[in-house]
Symmetry: C2
Subunit: 416 residues, 2 copies
């Protein structure tokens, strides 16, 4: 590592990536021109591997401890594109290193960094621990309580209906969430989430979902958001519990709220350990308060727009440079966009394998639109790509996006 060996050029350090989906793919797309080497651990031919033939990758699962150790032996830093990984192996590797065999057959222990820290990933992957950590760090978030089967009615009585029953782990895109509207729903909720550790969360009456990508540049945790840099606060629109649209900057939001959202997101990420890029989802509540909904310790769907809107510093480049320890500083700790208005639309697989051809064709016909297809097999509802439109004003961007949203809605109708 550079601190131990000043002759070792920072950008020659190899990164090991757990997971090779679209986030890993776009991370590789950012790494290639920087000359940063990435070794990917995921299934054969996963999206990230399709765009990186610079070295051999590892075929296997990013939750397989032995595969993770195999990856660690080949790299200098481990990072993730998904938080559902084995943090106990990551802890072992970060604390004790990994045993490697040299050419002469002798064995030695090699040090490998884990970024962000396994502690951060472990805290975040359990959504209740995450919320508990945020509360302890003085970050506003929804009131949550770890619950056993018998405690739900009590929670409802105290904090009111509706409330959310959520699986603590392995939950994403709304899977693992169950809205409990009245005491009568409790039984169904418990059945739907059977066998999982659960927590209950007070219902959030929000008027807008906001997201902020934050880069953490220092290893230590801080209670004031030190060592963090934010991208602008964006507006996210979900449909069927999946991110559909991202508007940059968030529409109809005052400069004050824009700044508060960045500050809160930086404070939340600053409270965690290790370096990297984080996606912070927030709610702008009906009463005007901002609370953190949840944090992803990795590049995030709400940050795809940065590829075109911040063409010299996407969230993927920030992830690479921050974990390499060479993230530059930005005036006011903000990474600005170059475009005045940006909108991102996810492309979900349609009913047939060619349902998305229409939207792809349309996207390529718009000068201000960038298309990103992930090379994934199109399955109904699966995220298979996205479109980013950059324009001189939000109404202009909205007008260009309108026909694409229409095509997306038609695909959704066909899927049902």
């Amino acid at each position: 590592m550079s601190s131990q060996n000043p002759g070792f050029f920072t950008m020659d350090r190899t990164i090991g990536l757990l997971g090779g989906g679209q986030l890993g793919q776009m991370l590789c797309e950012a790494a290639n021109p920087l000359g940063v080497k990435i070794v990917v651990l995921d299934a054969e031919n996963s999206p990230a591997k399709q765009v990186n033939a610079k070295n051999a990758h590892i075929d296997g699962s990013f939750i397989d401890a032995e595969k993770i150790r195999e990856l660690a032996r080949q790299v200098d830093i481990l990072t993730v594109e998904i938080e559902h990984v084995d943090t106990y192996v990551l802890e072992e590797i970060a604390e004790k290193g990994v045993e490697v065999t040299d050419k002469d057959g002798s064995k030695r222990i090699k040090r490998v960094e884990v970024q962000p820290s396994w502690r951060t990933i472990r805290t975040i992957q359990d959504k209740y621990l995450q919320k508990d950590h945020l509360v302890r760090s003085g970050v506003h978030t929804a009131i949550s309580r770890a619950v056993e089967t018998g405690e739900l009615a009590q929670f409802g009585r105290e904090l009111g209906y509706p409330f959310m029953l959520k699986a603590r782990k392995d939950a994403y895109d709304g899977r693992g969430n169950y809205p409990v509207k009245s005491p009568a729903d409790i039984e169904d909720a418990l059945k739907a989430l059977k066998g999982r550790d659960l927590y209950a969360e007070k219902w959030a009456n929000f008027r807008m979902e906001i997201a902020v990508m934050v880069v953490k540049t220092e290893d230590a945790a801080s209670d004031i958001g030190k060592g963090t840099i934010a991208y602008p606060a964006v507006e996210t629109v979900h449909e069927d519990s999946v991110c559909k649209l991202v508007y940059v900057p968030a529409r109809t939001v005052s400069d004050k709220v824009q700044q508060e959202a960045q500050d809160l997101a930086r404070k939340a990420v600053g409270s965690l350990w290790g370096k990297g890029v984080f996606g912070v989802e927030l709610f702008l509540m009906d009463d005007g308060r901002l609370i953190v909904n949840e944090i992803a310790p990795r590049p995030h769907n709400s940050g795809h727009y940065t590829i075109e809107a911040c063409p010299t510093f996407s969230q993927y480049k920030s992830q690479l440079l921050s974990i390499l320890g060479i993230m530059p500083s930005f005036p006011n700790s903000v990474i600005p966009t170059m475009s005045s208005a940006t909108i991102m639309l996810n492309i979900l697989g349609g009913q047939s394998k060619t349902s998305h051809n229409e939207i792809v064709k349309r996207a390529t016909s718009i000068p201000m639109a960038a298309l990103h297809m992930y090379g994934k097999e199109p399955k109904p509802g699966r995220k298979i790509g996205h479109i980013t439109i950059v324009a001189p004003s939000m109404p202009y961007a909205e007008a260009l996006m309108a026909p694409l949203i229409k095509l997306s809605d038609a695909m959704r109708a066909e899927r049902k």
Copy 2:
């Protein structure tokens, strides 16, 4: 092909690329997110292959006729990232197709498009034929004459000294050019270019080198530049006969000259055959006239800047969509930049394999800079990467670029 089979989705057509250097690499980087498949013919592990593991590529030379036929069998459209290819094989393939063997052992002829046309590539790769074609098309260019050994003194007497003696073919980055300052130089010039077909060119007293990337969207040639779209006219600065810097837009150039440069470049490209992106090099003469110096029938070093400055429509995306026949139209036939000012600096290999580490480190420390390393072995003077800076104004961009130019100059001094 789509016109013959309406059920065949345009973007499913596979492109075969002759050459896999950095231009091919950036073409693949543009193709990957579009879901456009490219099969590359070049040496093993060439830059383009490093970023495209979506399919098997072909190892071999892009001047090997049999390898080109092998490539043609696998694709729907052939294109080039270098003009020094065998145009007779391309003509054969474009005119007669290529024989393929089906699974059942039966043979059939498959049609394959060649874009741009072999006729364009053949005309351009012989610099004298290129100049002759431009003159016949009414495009201003330097007065040139194909010359035999004994005719040089005559050319000097008629058109004056100094003049340039140039090899007609396989010339690039100043190699193949010899300035003849007086009759006494003729012998040395002929010795330096011995064994090559030659032409002489009247000396051009220019005050600035300008380049315009032009996209040709129709197959037919036109004498008024119909079916062409231009990027802005940029200023190029050469050193040791290699492009060093590109300023976007060209500095200290009036709107009138900016427009004339685009118009002349579009007229020049419009006179050629087939579709694709073209780099047009022009001279802004001391007397204020513009003349075309030469044309490249492919993406060009002077268009690298488009990756960041035109983040939804780089020259590489334009190459792909134009040869696929789905290039959209742009208002006023201009592809605008999103940044106010852009500067590109080439990184040439230094004296040692690590000489460029300093400039790489510095480039990653600048928020408004994008780094592109090509994954090529660093050899002294070899183009191994480039840096693009986007900024709100040209003085701002120049201030950010200044320390990088200093490092580049230091590498050059070390090389000598």
